[in-house]
Amino acid sequence: MTGRGAHSGIYWDMPRKTAYEAKIEYLQILDEHGNLDKTLAKDTLTDEEVLSLFESMVIYRHLDEVAFKLQRSGRMGTYPQNKGQEAAALGTAFAAKKGVDFLVPCYRENAALFLHGLPPHYILLHWMGDERGNQIPQGVNCTPLSIPIGTQMLHAAGIAWAYKIRKEPRCVLTYFGDGATSEGDFHEAMNFASTQQAPCVFICQNNQWAISVPREIQMNSETVAQKAIAYGMPGIQVDGNDLFAVYKASREALDRARAGGGPSFIEGVTYRLADHTTADDAKRYRDPKEVEAWIGKDPVIRHRKYLESKGLWNAEKQAATDERAKKIVSEIVKAAEGIEKPLVTDIFNYTFAGELPAELKRQRDTMQTHSLGQDPSQVGLQQGAAMH
């Protein structure tokens, strides 16, 4: 019997070969109790580096809590807390070269941007409704926060592509959440970066929730990392609350990209400890027991335990750092709140480079869109205007 395709018994009886096989590795080096796997930790972070990153974690956690309070007291608009995801942000960004590599963020990796030189008050300005928070200073290699979910990874692919065309030894890191992987642009970015072998590292902060939708509803795959397989791209799942694992995976991915090995995908398993934004109430949809369990895996707690066990940290140092954090954050808030209100003309002036189109100039100079009285040759109009 021939020509009966898949229904043919003969077809089913034929031996089938494996066309492709793959596995996804999971990397954890520092567990939630602060125990380090010394073998895996080899050639990752020095004590000094861990200390410095931990201090950043403490400071930016404090900034995050203060940002929440600013919103609650009416001093800032909606804000998405970063709480709980500091290790994923800092570990990845620390592996990249400041001033050389480029960061394309979403909005839950503030600490990564700060590490690469973005003045922290820029983030507050953004959420205070001021575009100057997006006016990235010269020499800071990042894009502003990206609001439409899952769209910014294509920009990362394009920037990395440009580096490849120009043969510059630079890489791009782009950040997004688990929800973003459902967007079509995620697929297109992975495919473009991969077909171009662009030096781009895709960092999925799998924080388990896209507003109220849990990962299990978001996708039917067991890991996010396995999505990389479809693009012929190395993918790895790491404990996203473990600086060592996040750093090691990022370092490998960046080294590979810089050497011409193309893009990589890193899934950092982490947790959004706070609500989606200040406009959200996660109690409506999250089991408090789940949150409780993840509080136990908090990167701040775990790295503190680790440093204490090595004799590098104690209550005194913590108190001093908390005090320092308060001062630093208070300066950041001052910088954000102390800035003068933007000029109304700024609404217009950045629409295009150079001289604005005549109509736009008219709208700017009169702050009107109606045309009466703007045209002296229309005599009747002037008479009409005089009647008022």
């Binding site: 480029f102 990235i136 502003p144 920009h155 970015a189 495919n191 473009f192 480079a353």
Partner: protein, 324 residues
């Protein structure tokens, strides 16, 4: 000056600019080895290499989004979207990112990118290959939109678009692609974006149009009595558009007909018409008329010439305005 049709002129302009500026990268579906489905990019890959004339995966948002990244990183990407009907998947990237980046970053990040898109009907193309969405993009602040109708304008506007520091949507009227040849100036020249062209001067009525309908208007003028004096304006740029040219003309003629392929409601003719009543109210001898596509889905090609504003409909409107 060599004779070229619209396709050849665009090809020539692309090659000219790629030769001049190594930041220029052409990317899109089938633009490389195949030279594009309309052959607009023919020979460019052989001449400039596969790194600069890139066959991308079949994904419009990917083309637009990665072109934005290329532009952010200092390149001058010229992405092609194969037909205007396929701009849909790229819309988010174009209007929510490319159009807004200069403004939202207060000038820190800009997107110098020229999106080439074949546009319009009249070539018996399949479904979703014949629309005219220029007003949609003209409505989005931060985008420039042009639609040349002649080979020379195509070259001058393309060079201006690629050199523009902001994103430009460059619509190419398919119906004109191979309809005629003309002398195209060799060497470097730009046509300023935002400047219209008076195709023929006249005293009795102003006809404003752009793209392929320029030639329908010319046909309508040919069919009219010799003593009717029509001033025909080819807008060329949809945004920013040359209000001053139109206003000056209508103040002179007192009558105006606006012609475009896109549907009437919210078509760019509405903007032109409204601007005329704002600025020429005391000069008008007749209501401004619009001759446009209908407020329907673009029909399949058996009925496309009934849908498109062909010369008899244009002639009828001009006669009515003159008789008002």
């Amino acid at each position: 000056m060599p004779e070229m049709n619209l396709v050849q002129a665009i090809n020539h302009a692309l090659a000219f600019e790629m030769e001049r500026d190594d930041r220029v990268v052409v990317l899109g579906e089938d633009v490389g080895l195949n030279g594009g489905v309309f052959r607009v990019t023919e020979g460019l890959q052989a001449r400039f290499g596969a790194e600069r004339v890139v066959d991308t995966p079949l994904a419009e948002s990917g083309i637009m989004g990665s072109a934005i990244g290329l532009a952010m990183a200092g390149m001058r990407p010229v992405p092609e979207i194969q037909f205007e009907g396929f701009l849909g998947p790229a819309y988010d990237q174009l209007v929510n990112h490319a159009a807004r980046y200069r403004s939202r970053s207060r000038g820190a990040i800009t997107i110098p990118m020229t999106v080439r898109v074949p546009v319009g009907g009249g070539i018996h193309a399949p479904e979703l290959h014949s629309d005219s969405p220029e007003a949609i993009y003209a409505h989005h602040p931060g985008l420039k939109v042009v639609m040349p109708s002649t080979p020379s304008d195509a070259k001058g506007l393309l060079l201006a678009a690629i050199r523009d520091p902001d994103p430009v949507v460059y619509f190419e009227p398919k119906r004109v692609y191979r309809s005629f040849k003309e002398d195209v100036p060799e060497g470097d020249f730009e046509i300023e974006i935002g400047k219209a062209k008076v195709v023929s001067e006249g005293a009795d009525v102003t006809v404003v149009t752009w793209g392929a309908t320029v030639f329908q208007c010319l046909a309508a003028m040919d069919a009219m009595p010799e003593d009717v004096s029509v001033e025909l304006i080819d807008l060329r740029s949809i945004y920013p558009w040359d209000m001053d040219c139109v206003i000056e003309s209508v103040r002179k003629t007192g009558r105006c007909v606006v012609v475009h392929e896109a549907p009437k409601t919210c078509g760019f003719g509405a903007e032109v018409s409204s601007t005329i009543q704002e600025h020429c109210f005391l000069n008008l001898h007749a209501p401004v008329q619009r001759v446009t596509g209908f407020d329907t889905v673009m029909p399949y090609y058996k009925l496309e010439l009934e849908y498109l504003p062909e010369s008899p409909r244009i002639k009828g409107a001009v006669e009515q305005v003159l008789a008002y």
